[in-house]
Structure formats: C-alpha cells, structure tokens
Symmetry: C2
Subunit: 572 residues, 2 copies
C-alpha cells in the first residue's frame, strides 16, 4: 500500500519548500531528528494552538508546562526506568545495532510481542542478514532502555535524570496544584504540549518514528464512582471502529458514536467522549475523516496500567499509523507516585450523598469502679477496652493489656453501649483518562492528505489543500509588478492584514505572477491577493482561491473586514 515514489516526491517538496527537513543536514544529519523550516514551523505552531484551544474551551481543562529533564525517581515510579525498552541486537561483525523485532519482521506477523529468545531463534533459523554488512552473526537480543540519560549537577553531587519519554508525568506531578486550582472538585483535566524523547535504536519512516517529537497529552481526572455524565446521542457521523481486534467479535464496524455507545461497542463512556472529541479535532485540522479509524487494544497489547485503550489510527502512505492513543489509566499513576514519593496530596475527597453512619458496640468503662480497682494500670485497661474488636458474650472475662498482663473485667465495671459515628466522605485516588497525541505524525498525515499532484498547461503542478485553520500563512499579497506604486500598495496591505490578531500574511514580488501563484499553491496558502493597475485607481484587489483557482475582484476595505471575521470564502 506504500507508494515509495509518492513519499519521495512529497518529502522532496517538504524539504525544498522549507516545511519539514532532515535536521543537522550540513553535518550529515541525524536519523530521527527533523527541523520544521520557515513554512513548516508555522503549521506546527497552528496545529498545537488549535489543539490547546480545542481542549480548553469548556473551562474544565487547563494547560500546564513542566520540564523535559526528569529526575530518575519520577520515572522509576512511572515504570519507564524498568519497562521502557526495545529488544536490541548487534551484528557480531560490524557492531551495528538494530531493533531485534524489526529484523524479524518478514518472518513473523507480529514480532513486537515476542520474547528475546524467540526472536533470536527466528534470526538464527532464518539466517537474517545484517542490513549493514551482510553478516549473519547476531549477539543475543537484550532489552535496551529507550530514554536519553543525562546528569543534573556536577561530579559526585550529580543526579541521574532522563529526557522525558512522555509529557504525562508533568500533569501527575502537578496534581496537587490542579486539585487546588479546581477547588477540590472533580472532574478536571490538564494538558501539556512539548517535546518527548525516545532513543530509537534504528529510526525509520520519516516523521512517524522520531527520536525527539512533539507531543500533546491530556490527563482528565475523574471519580470512578461518579464518572462524568456523557451524552453522545447527537454524534451521528459514521466512523470506523475495530473493537477488541483479536477477541471473538473482531470486525470493523462503521457506526456513529451514538450507536457505538448504544450497542456496547464502547463500554467506557468517558473514553468514548474523548475519542469523539479527538475526531472533531482531526477533521478541523484537515485530516480526511474517511482515513480515520478507532482500534481497541487487545488485552496483550494494552499497557499494564490501562483498563481500556483505543488507538486513533490514520491512513496514509505508511499504512495505518497510530496517531492518538486514548487510555483509561485508572488510578495507576497517582497511586504509584503516592507510594514512591510518600506524598499525601495525590488524592481527592469524595463527599457521600448522605453521610454514612458507622455503628459500633462498645464497652463503656465505669471509671469510678475501674480507677480504684486498677490504680496505675487503669489507663492501660481503658485503652484495651476501647480497642476490643469483639465484645465478650459473658462476664467476667479476661482482658489482655499492653504490659502483657491480663486482668479480669466484671459486669459492673462496664456498660454495653451502641455508638453511632457520622462519616461525611472519604479520600480516594482519582482515575485518569489520557488522550495522547503524536503531533508530528498528525502533521505528516495532514500533509499527506493535502498533497495533490496534478498538471497545469502540460506541466506538473503541486497543490497542498491545507485546512484554513492550520495553513502556514492565511493570505499572500502579490503586487502584479514592482512598479507604479503597486509594490508600496501591496506592502501597506500586507502590514494591515498582519495587524489583525491571529492572521498571518506574507508578500511575494519575485518572478511572474503565475510562478508566484504556483509557489503559494504548493505550500497551501488558501488565498492570494493581487494588487494590479486597477487597484491603484479604485482601491480594489483580486482574491484568488487556492482550491479552484477562481478569482474575484473586491474592495480592499471589504476584504479586510472579511479577514477579521474569518470569512474570506463568502466572497465566492
């Protein structure tokens, strides 16, 4: 399904036009590291900005920002020090290192799930060759931790640390601050966008598998006994679901979220809610909805901490790729951090609907008799009476007190009473639903879905049909010629547009107008505004629509107003 030639042409265009480039290329490059160039960085910023606005709009979710350098104890608690591994093997001859499962890919349907000795067996029995030198002699596979290690501080005072493998831990670290911010009321959520790091042994697939990547994660904290009330009955768009792909009911179903809930395809309603909101986001930034599907993790694939987990996969030139994972991580993370840090601020208070009454039978002491009888030991006797788990059926009975001795308690020393205690609520560890987005993978698919190769007047012509919401530039202003004041008028208009909040305009006055339209189309600029001779006379310009190259003439003032309203398309 992969069209390597189209990938090559698209990648070449991305590089030539300054969208996405191999990083450190003048030094030979480093695989798994990329640059967003002068055009791509703007797309990246807008995708992230859209994502932040998408989740914060209701007020129950806020943004936080935490360091990428993470001290070891945090990542011991999260499980990454112990479990964030890939199996690695080295060529016995040339020492090149590879992910063992990738070497076994052509000899097993799903080598990722195999143990080290099973993979070694495949490498030997199939005489797998080293992709580097052709030798067939492999060191035994062993787990390699995928975090980038570093040291904080100097010399003997230094501490082991890692570049964070995910942004999620920052939200758990800030849970006490979030709980305070939301005035001790669940549910609430926190998002973070930023860099994540994974020291891939042998990165491939361009923007799909990076060593340093842009992540965006949301942790939504809920009370599992009072989960948020979710209503997806209005969600009628048809979506592709693959529930429990290796269970008995495996099949792809095309239904709406509303039906998925009704039919029990999705059992966790909070997870379903976030899947449906994820769909809205992806469509808004320009992902083709027919190339989206939601696949549930099978039991063996699911992370050890998760109760339910769905991947949002997007189809592109690399096949179906996981771009978002949405998991119910239950109380796993907060509980683990509580255990490792001894913090007492990682819980939430649950008020009971009605205060609960705890009823207990006790032997209330008659101190006027007990005191004189036991003198110095009276205090110990009272304490032991209070702590009695089971009351005796008969009197007298023997009571063991703290100094090891036993005393006899007679009926007149105590009175049998029933005590009622009212309990208003209890502390518990919130559960968390986590949508985790791979921003670079999403950007790759935005570009892949938008990239159209066509012809114009017998020549190849590229078009990037980007959504207006994330185009690198909203409008480009083109003086027809750099003379008679057209250049000045264009520059003035460009500045006026740029002064509108949130709008980006650029200007291009080099080479023929046809060449400039083509350049703008190739990087996905939705609107081209041309200043010509007539503009100088009557304050009008032509506006050209990228997607069908139609043009209309309009007054500059009207255009500026429509740009302010985000509604240039109404001109057509």
């Amino acid at each position: 399904m992969t069209d390597e030639k189209r990938i090559e042409r698209l990648s070449a265009m991305l590089k030539r036009r300054g969208i996405v480039l191999p990083a450190f290329e003048i030094y030979g490059g480093v695989s798994g590291l990329i640059d967003y160039g002068p055009v791509g960085a703007s797309i990246r910023r807008r995708v992230i900005q859209n994502w932040v606005e998408h989740w914060t709009i209701n007020g129950d979710i806020v943004e936080i920002d935490s360091p990428t350098i993470t001290p070891e104890p945090v990542l011991v608690a999260s499980g990454h020090v112990g479990e964030f591994n890939d199996l690695m093997t080295q060529c016995g001859k040339c020492s090149a290192a590879f992910r063992a499962d990738q070497l076994a890919e052509n000899n097993h349907p799903n080598p990722e799930i195999l143990e080290a000795n099973e993979i070694d067996e495949i490498l030997i029995s199939n005489e797998i060759e080293c992709p580097n030198c052709g030798d067939k002699n492999w060191t035994p596979s062993k787990p390699m931790n995928l975090m980038f290690g570093t040291k904080i501080g100097a010399m003997r005072a230094s501490r082991q640390a890692y570049m964070r493998p995910e942004t999620a831990q920052g939200m758990f670290m800030l849970y006490p601050s979030l709980y305070r911010h939301f005035r001790q009321k669940l549910p609430f959520g926190a998002i973070q966008t930023g860099k994540g790091y994974r020291n891939e042994i042998s990165p491939r697939q361009g923007m799909i598998r990076l060593r340093e990547f842009n992540m965006a994660e949301l942790e939504y904290f809920i009370d599992p006994e009072n989960p948020p009330v979710i209503d997806l009955s209005m969600k009628k768009e048809i979506v592709s679901f693959i529930p429990d792909p290796h269970g008995e009911d495996y099949k792809e179903v095309k239904i709406s979220f509303s039906e998925a809930i009704d039919q029990g395809v999705m059992k966790d309603h909070t997870v379903a809610y976030f899947l449906s909101r994820t769909l809205d986001f992806l469509i808004n930034v320009g992902i083709n909805p027919s190339k989206i599907r939601f696949r549930q993790h099978e039991g063996t694939e699911m992370a050890h901490y998760a109760e339910d987990c769905w991947d949002c996969e997007i189809f592109g030139e690399h096949g179906w790729i996981e771009c978002v994972g949405i998991a119910n991580r239950t109380c796993h993370d907060l509980l683990s951090h509580e255990k490792h840090s001894n913090s007492n601020s990682l819980r939430a208070w649950r008020e009971f609907d009605e205060p609960k009454t705890d009823t207990k039978e006790v032997l209330a002491p008659n101190t006027s008799i007990l005191g004189p009888m036991f003198r110095g030991k009276a205090g110990l006797v009272l304490e032991s009476l209070k702590q009695l788990d089971e009351l005796p059926d008969n009197f007298p009975f023997e009571l063991q007190i703290k100094d090891g001795t036993k005393v006899e308690i007679t009926e007149e020393m105590v009175e049998r009473k029933t005590i009622h205690t009212s309990i208003a609520g209890e502390w518990f560890t919130p559960h968390v639903i986590e949508p985790a987005f791979g921003i670079d993978r999403i950007i790759w698919h935005i570009l892949d879905h938008a990239y159209e190769e066509t012809e114009k007047e017998g020549e190849k012509y590229n078009l990037l049909r980007l959504s207006e919401s994330i185009a690198p530039v909203d409008l480009i202003v083109l003086p027809l010629f750099e003379k008679e004041g057209m250049g000045e008028t264009a520059r003035k208009l460009n500045l006026q547009i740029n002064q509108i909040k949130g709008v980006i305009s650029s200007i291009d006055s080099s080479k023929s107008i046809g060449r400039r339209y083509a350049r703008a189309d190739e990087i996905g600029i939705p609107w081209a505004v041309t200043v010509d001779h007539i503009s100088l006379e009557d304050e009008t310009v032509t506006v050209r629509r990228r997607d069908d190259q139609k043009q209309v003439r309009t007054e500059i003032q009207l255009l500026l107003n429509l740009i302010r309203l985000g509604n240039v398309s109404s001109l057509f």
Copy 2:
C-alpha cells in the same frame, strides 16, 4: 535593594495560585527546574505568542523549529564544547560542588572574570567556608562544561550529543533553507522559541538562573556592506543607556533612540533597531519602562565572536538582571560551521552595483611555434604559462613546468596581452544580529512589576496588574448565585466568549462574590463579568475592571462585540 520578604510573599502567591512552582516537588524538587501551573502556563504561552507575532509582522522574519538534542560536531563548531564553562570547586570534606566565583563573591567585585588560580587564592586567603558543611578545604577550581550530555543511539553505534545551550544554532543549521525561502535576498531573519539547557553547578535566584529555560532568539542575516537602512528618527521615548560602561565615557544617559543614533551613543544602527523593537515588545507585555535600561558590553565581557553587544536589563527584586542580549555576531557562526562542515551553502551572493572588471596581463601562447617545439610537453608548458603570477621583464626566460623540468621561452613563442573579465558579484558570509531573550526572566519581571500588595477592608489584598495582552485569562464569568438559572446563563456566556478566536474566558461559582473577585484580581484577570438576577430579565451583565474595581452594567450582545474588537475598556 533585594526585599527578600517581598520575594518570599510573591513566590508563595505564585505557588499557591498555580502560576510558577518548584518542579517535582512531591519528590523533594530539583533546583533550577520549575513548572508553569494552570495559571502560569497560559501567561507563558501568551508571552511567547506575542513575541512571535511581534517579530514576524513585517514578513522579513519567519519562524523555524529545530531539535533540542544536538550532535557534538555542531557544538564544537559553535564553541560550546570548548568554552561553555564555569569554574567549579568541591568541598574537600563533604564533596558538595559550587561555582567558584560565587564563593568568592563577597571578596571580589567581579569574580566572574577571574582565572582559576586567582579564585583559589581568594578562597584560601579569606578562609571561605563550605555553605554545606562549614569546612574550608577546597579542591583546585577547574572549568566544568555546562551542557547536559547524552548519547544518541545504542552501544558502539552511539554518538555524543548535548541538550542545546541556545536555540540559535538551529537557525544557522537552517540557513540554506532560509536563503532559499527568501529567494536569495538579504536581509532576512529567523526566530525560534523553545527550551534551552544549562547544567548550572548551583542554581539560585528562582526563575533567574534555571537549568532548563524558555528561550526565544532571532538571527537577522545582513550583508555588512549593504546593511538595512534604519530610520529611528520617530523613536522619541526617553530610554536609559549605559554605553561602554568601563570605558572613559562611562555614564548612564537618558535619551531617545533617535538621539542615541545622532549622538553616536549607538554606532551599529541595526543593533539599535533591534534594541528599540525589544523595548516595544517589553512594554507591550507589561514591563515597566522606567525599569528598563540598555547596557553595552565592555570589551572584556563581550563574547569572542561579537562586534557590538548590548544587554537589555530589567530592574526587579533581584536588582538589574540581563533579560535580553543583542549582539552583532558578525560572520562568526556561519563561517565556523562552513569550516567544520565543509558545507558550501552557508553564503550569500552579492551582486555588484556595476559589474567589476578584472584586468590582467598575460602571455598568450603562439601555439604554432610552441607545439612543434615542445611536442608532448606542450600541454604542460601552456598550463604553466597560464598560471604565471608575474610576467618576466625580459626574454628569453626560464619556465618551470609541472614535471619538474625547466624550458626556455623566447619572445616569439608568446604575445603579451591585457585581458578584461567582467565579474557580476561575489559570494560572501552574511553577518548576523542576534537578539536573544530569556523568557522566564521576562515573565518573572512581568509578575514582579505587576504584583501589588494592598489592603481592603482591613485585610491584605493582592493585585496582579498584568497587561491585557498576556493575562492568563481575558475574562472571568461569575454567576452571582448557582440558582434560578444564573449558573446556566453564566456557562452559556462563558462558552460564547471562549468561541471568539484568541479569547480565553473561565467561570467561577464557588464561594462569595467578594472572594471570587479577590481570587480573579490576584491572578491578574482584567475583567470580571457577573451574571445576576437582573441578567435573567434583560440580558445585561455587570463588567468589573480589575485595576480600579469599577463596575458598569452592559448588554451581553454589546459586551460580546467589544470582546471581539479587543476593546472592553471602552465601556468605562
């Protein structure tokens, strides 16, 4: 000048209200690492967004984004592997590590400039005690590199790398892409915002000296022979300059940029332009202009590569702190990368105004004589004649040819000629002006300048007078009570406001209205909108201004329009 008590109270407020907090606190924290909490992260995002918009508005500057992990050769070329050091010493008893110059601070006016042996001498002769254990026995000071090291890849195939100490190198790496993007025409610039890393030996001063920090840098590439034409004659605001602080002319002068240029206080006009634009930015995000000054680096303080360098310093509770550095780095970086990478794409083409003519005297061979005379050696003779640097005064003369032998050239073998060559232009290495911003330091000063401690009805009352451009939330919607539909109306209004592009609203319905106003004032929300009984009848709300706590009643529709126009203040 430092009011430690006010710093403590401000820091406590920043932590309590989720603005800035020590990172990893449940694990005891890591000095030099901070979190931006649910309120602070929004301020941070807006400061950065403002910064990006401030520089990109004219279209000659674009954003890029490059990795934080940087392979070693790049940082060898940039000088960081060799020179990014602090002098460190360890306590002989407890092994605690310190910056040697900081230990000598009370015994020397400027220990940062001292050599290792000079500092050691101060530590010994003044019997400086270890701040940790009190011992006075120090290891000899030695330079410690301040980069966080890490390894890319696995085992023997791994490569040494570092977390970037500055974002600038990313722009130099992408110079070829930028040069293409701007169609081979200088000047142009590129910006990058993101994390920078500096493994401080002993971080102090809260947000001033961090191990991981938010940077924002601009590299503006110019042709030094055709620098951009700068007109600062309109810049009449009075600013504080300290030119050449240790030269003969040292004194603070309060003049405008226009005067600073006229009087020669600032000689590099491009640097002056960026200083003046920096001032605009700082004022826009809420820095008090009377607490800004521009200080020129003295010769010894200036980085080895810089031709002219000014710091923009901001005054706050920690004294005058460098928050922006603006340097003319000349061609240092690009030239060094050219040398280390052998890349031939780090230059620009300079077209001469008029093609230059190169005039050269040559001896044109008379091949009809030379050919028969030298036969097989004729080619070598021709080559050597072409390469003659100085023409002989007399004939015959001896010519050494490539095979080591000499031949005699007589007058009739050659003809003396004058050759004219036309040269249209030349390749050169652009110079670069670099404004480098410490975003966390700027945010600290924004908070410091905005924080006001006052009293209200006999109680302490805090106010954060943040600029509207970077307030964490633009408006807060407050239902007077959670009953009779006020809550629903408020939530509906909140959502309507949030749907306006670029506007953030939040809602608060817990506790008394007075408490809620106070909470909003303390985190700097400019406008509070209250939904009360009257709102339910006539679709009006009250709008309260943070800065003077004045209130006016207005129609909801009018308010929404004013929010869209960014002009709520016109209600007052």
